[in-house]
Symmetry: C2
Subunit: 319 residues, 2 copies
């Protein structure tokens, strides 16, 4: 029995788990993220490690951190994080000083891809792409059984491939990124604009937010679509089309054998997955003369990052 601990460190919380070699989480632990204090983040992480290791049914072989930031090529430092005070933060060294286990660190989206690859919806593929649709668009790439990290450790930032020249401004400073067309935020933006336009098409959506577009949430759109609201269904089709088109561009470049779609919006099921598959099939290079990969929903939910980080620690321990 190989046990490792994975911790997903996001902008608001640390979510840890004691994970076995099948990717099963045996115990979990959580803390709020002291986002502005890198030393305190490491202390909280060490605290979770101690809590989870205590009374574990076997020795803990290592700790993996999934961090919401850019990790350097050596896997020692967090170069930069948009939502936490990490700037060239020596995270591996800092946590190693606080716990008795080997520590590996990885970008959170990469770790999630590794989780789905090792123990989730792509466990039978060698080349896979994870696309996570949340507030933004994240992702990770496994190529020939290895995580694609790139020369500087920053590979897989698929949400910042540009889809529209001169398009909407993105949080990264650029315009037209995949993320501002294919995310949950894009869905909400479009739904609010539709309501604000005054079209009678949006009457059902308008009712769900008491006539105030600013109060509309992504799950209101999904709920309306599930209740057969035509405008909400159109909005999900538009979102899925953008996602499918973006993924088709990635497909031309990477040729994955399995494409896994994750993130909260995936709860919309076929209302979103069907237009993703249709747009992918309509836009992939070489269609008709090549095998088509399966596009499936993620299976590890929001635990993919911690399970993937634990799996990376287990892989490291096996070396």
């Amino acid at each position: 029995m190989t046990l490792t601990i994975g911790i997903d460190i996001g902008g608001t919380k640390l979510a840890g788990g004691l994970v076995d070699e099948h990717g099963t989480i045996l115990r979990e632990g959580r803390r709020d993220t002291p986002a502005q204090d890198p030393a305190a983040i490491a202390t909280e992480a060490a605290d979770i490690v101690r809590e989870l290791a205590e009374g574990a049914p076997a020795d803990v072989a290592g700790v993996g951190l999934a961090c919401a930031g850019f990790i350097n090529a050596e896997g020692t430092h967090i170069l930069f994080a948009p939502n936490l005070a990490w700037r060239n933060e020596p995270m591996q060294e800092r946590l190693s000083a606080l716990v008795d286990y080997p520590v590996v660190i990885e970008n959170d989206a990469n770790a999630a891809a590794w989780g789905e690859f090792r123990h989730g919806a792509a466990s039978d593929a060698d080349d896979m792409l994870l696309v996570t649709i949340g507030t933004g668009v994240g992702g990770g790439i496994v190529s020939d059984g290895k995580l694609l990290r790139g020369a500087y450790g920053i590979g897989g930032e698929i949400g910042h491939m540009r889809l529209v020249p001169g398009g909407h401004r993105c949080g990264c400073g650029n315009r037209g990124c995949f993320e501002v067309y294919g995310s949950g935020s894009a869905l909400v933006r479009e739904a609010r604009e539709l309501i604000a336009s005054g079209t009678p098409l949006a009457a059902g959506l308008s009712e769900r937010c008491g006539g105030d577009p600013d109060r509309l949430k992504g799950r209101d759109v999904t709920a309306a679509a599930e209740a057969d609201d035509p405008a909400a269904k159109e909005l999900l089709t538009d979102l899925g089309t953008w996602i499918g088109e973006g993924v088709a561009s990635l497909g031309a470049v990477l040729d994955p054998g399995r494409i896994v779609i994750g993130g909260g919006v995936v709860e919309a099921g076929d209302l979103l997955m069907q237009p993703i598959r249709a747009a992918y099939g309509r836009n992939l290079i070489g269609r008709g003369y090549r095998p088509m990969p399966e596009i499936v929903a993620a299976s590890l939910g929001n635990r993919a990052g911690l399970i993937g980080a634990a799996a990376l620690a287990a892989d490291e321990a096996r070396r």
Copy 2:
């Protein structure tokens, strides 16, 4: 001394070379491509092999083919070729029956990337991207020292990443591909449109084609730009900007440590490379918080494919 033979099979010619372990071509051989006859293509290739092997200064360890088509994951068949009559063509078996050496086959752009990686402008990088600007936009990706082939062998088709939704129609059937904005053909299209518009700006370009835009060639634009023609310089800047923006999207996904620009248009030198670098630097995700890769011109010219194919055969022989 390890010698291998590389043959680049394009739509109009087969170009072969006897190549040593440093990527130096010792002898060359050429044939016209009997594009509509797969059996005849193999016969011509076998002919080149015999010609080059005869009297070689050492044993030939293998043959590598760089083919202008999609190669399957197993490296045995050409699934499809846009300009040759290859449809699920068992090329490896077919040539193996005609020559006494082990045969490897690879997509021509992938082989060119491998050539630049092993013996050219990226020989000191582990993660590189080759972008070849010709009639179209081709390319190849090396990730962590390995050619990125993808699940079905079709990876690296970067020219068909979409840059513009609803943009110009591409030869692949889609619209808005990188290839219809970042290629030599795009340069000519834009130059011809500029002349046809009747703007006095294009007077110099118009003179170079005797007032008939259809007679203008890409090298006319490059020559005009080198002679300081303002419209021609603008056109090269526009082309370089599209290329740099496309490559920035690829940079977000792949994070290469070296970007190599190849193809005939590169002869324009800094008139093209400077806007490529500027657009890349202006559009890359995380700029300011991450190392920037070098963007350099290819060093193997149009021999990259055959040198790369020979290197793949040498790598295979070493296994």
